[in-house]
Symmetry: C2
Subunit: 337 residues, 2 copies
DNA sequence: GCAGCCTATGTTACCCGTGCCATTTCTAAC
DNA sequence: GTTAGAAATGGCACGGGTAACATAGGCTGC
């Protein structure tokens, strides 16, 4: 029958304090697990919280301390579903552990204008830090301006200044994939790369290139997709027309699906005629036909590591998990001529 | 050289007011396009805003309004990567349009305890509404308690009370898939269902069952997977051993990958020996071997519709898009005996 | 018995945009 | 010239959690 009960308003800490017969400060301390609260008092407070259905309100803290205990996560809407999910889960888990919540901003396309908008949106929300899981290489001045005051970590991307970058060793992934094909007896390895804007695509390509160079092989021109299976299909159609192609390193599992389909349609069998190695090890990689030989990466861990870096809680520098080659049936020795 | 400039802090309206030689109230009015502001004053204010790089701070308004303008989104960490991404994007887009931000809570497993924890976490964050994209049928009293004060919408799930449910017509999806197989000449259709806890799995199974019943066929027992390709593989191994199986309706594309692999390993070809229809139309469905005949659903739209429902901004009840059958190569007429 | 310290709790001020009301200046109408 | 009203602007309080400081007991050690 109190006023607070009658009105539609949410109860405040003051209401709880009144009900429990303590001060608001004590309520605050209780809810934040501050050490100096008597067990009996705590119990009374928690009972009052329960009864009044009190819900914490973060706005005042944001107002006075400037900290929201919220991290922003920028994601690309399409493509790379699997890796994105894993990164998201990793970010959220690590953030949650540290008492932070995660606010998302998805961008429809990889485009600096949308990127700016997302960053601005998160910035307006007062996030304490930003994890960018969209590895855009070109960075505008405006983006720099927005993130100047907010700690920012880019998962596997590149920023010109200020922001830190968490690198998974994509270079090594490219090298491993290529080396496996060479070890299987192939004399040349072709490559379907991701978009050149993505630093992980670049690194994988560099790993491929350098591995070939180290083996004394001139790398053929790389073909470029956009991570979608459809783009893999298009590049695969081209590769299917080149008779000497016997081994292809594809920059993602999803594109590899497209490449394999194109090859099959042109009568080139995998792995009998052409061997394929890709990167990601998505769940479906083991269940398609043929099961994909691929380089696995731990995206969950990357996401968690990004948060650790942001919050300065990382235990050590060894945050990035090493890639590992999973050999399945999409690779074989080349047909002897 | 003013204090505000020296400190790392963001400038406030008061700083702008000082710089422009007006009161904070006038700055507020100017920025909100209030009518009663002199043109010359407005110009001075805007100049000061520009110079000080003032950026609006929403926290005080949140404080006064008691609303956080944040929605919570509960997601399952594993499985159904594609649909989850699409739902997320839809939710975030619709929320963003309405001026809301989206805070995520992922749960590792489909489990009521984790669910409660997630809801509690979002509740503690003071979200204005919750979208549950984890369609758990069993709902605990505690969950009801937590969400009593927060508008909640479950995408494709079921809640006992209070919370609203946004249904895609999964029933129809199951019916369409089954009917297509019957139309192709099959006399019997087997089914690999999703977990019974998921209402969408139940509905799809019901659609399958009723379609068979309507055709005067006794439905065989349904096999149950957990949405993962691996679970599809296990059920597929069983079905491969039953000679009379010529047509299978699989409740998700990802499980269908597993089923096909199991059939292939037992020497049963798709679609020559066994036809497969699944649901989702993930991007990879068109690029595997054989390309999947599947029922497409618009998850993005579901996510957006959920937010509309939550915010009461929905234009009409026709929020859920109808499923549509995409015929590819995993279905064919049964081998004539 | 008192200094010294720790524990438990209360009091006050602050964060900053905005609603409400007060005040000033100017114009219009009689 | 006086009054009514509009336009432009300022002053003040409010919202709710929390840092910082203040206060009141209780305990230890000599």
């Amino acid at each position: 029958m109190t006023e607070a009960t009658m009105r539609g308003k949410q109860p405040s800490m003051a209401d709880v304090a009144r009900a429990a017969g303590v001060s608001a400060q004590t309520v605050s301390r209780t809810l934040r697990d501050s050490p100096n609260v008597n067990a009996e008092t705590r119990r009374r407070v928690l009972t009052a919280v329960e009864q009044l259905r009190y819900r914490y309100n973060g706005a005042p803290r944001l107002l006075s301390s400037g900290r929201s205990f919220t991290l922003g996560l920028v994601l690309l809407q399409s493509g790379g579903y699997y890796s994105r999910s894993a990164v998201t889960a990793g970010v959220e888990a690590a953030a949650g552990q540290a008492g932070y919540s995660v606010s998302i901003a998805t961008i429809a396309e990889l485009d600096t204008a949308m990127m700016e908008k997302s960053l601005l949106k998160l910035s307006d929300q007062g996030v304490d830090g930003i994890v960018i899981a969209v590895p855009l290489i070109s960075v505008t001045q405006r983006m720099e301006d927005i993130t100047r005051d907010i700690p920012t970590v880019t998962v596997d991307g590149s920023r010109t200044t200020g922001a830190r970058v968490l690198g998974i060793d994509q270079h090594e992934a490219g090298r491993m994939a290529t080396q496996h094909l060479l070890d299987s007896g192939h004399r040349q390895v072709w490559h379907v790369a991701g978009p050149d804007e993505w630093i992980e695509a670049r690194q994988r390509r560099q790993g491929w290139q350098e591995c070939l160079t180290a083996a004394g092989i001139d790398a053929p021109p790389a073909l470029e997709g956009d991570w979608s299976p459809e783009s893999g299909y298009r590049q695969g159609q081209i590769l299917a027309m080149i008779p000497e192609v016997t081994a292809i390193f594809v920059a993602s599992d999803e594109m590899a699906f497209g490449v394999i389909r194109a090859l099959r349609e042109r009568g080139r069998s995998v792995p009998a005629d052409v061997s394929i190695v890709s990167v990601d090890d998505i769940e479906l990689a083991a269940y398609c036909h043929p099961p994909l030989t691929t380089v696995r990466q731990d995206f969950y861990r990357s996401g968690a590591a990004a948060v650790a870096l942001l919050l300065g809680t990382e235990d050590a520098g060894e945050s990035g998990a090493q890639p590992s080659l999973i050999v399945r049936e999409s690779t074989a020795a080349p047909r002897s001529r």
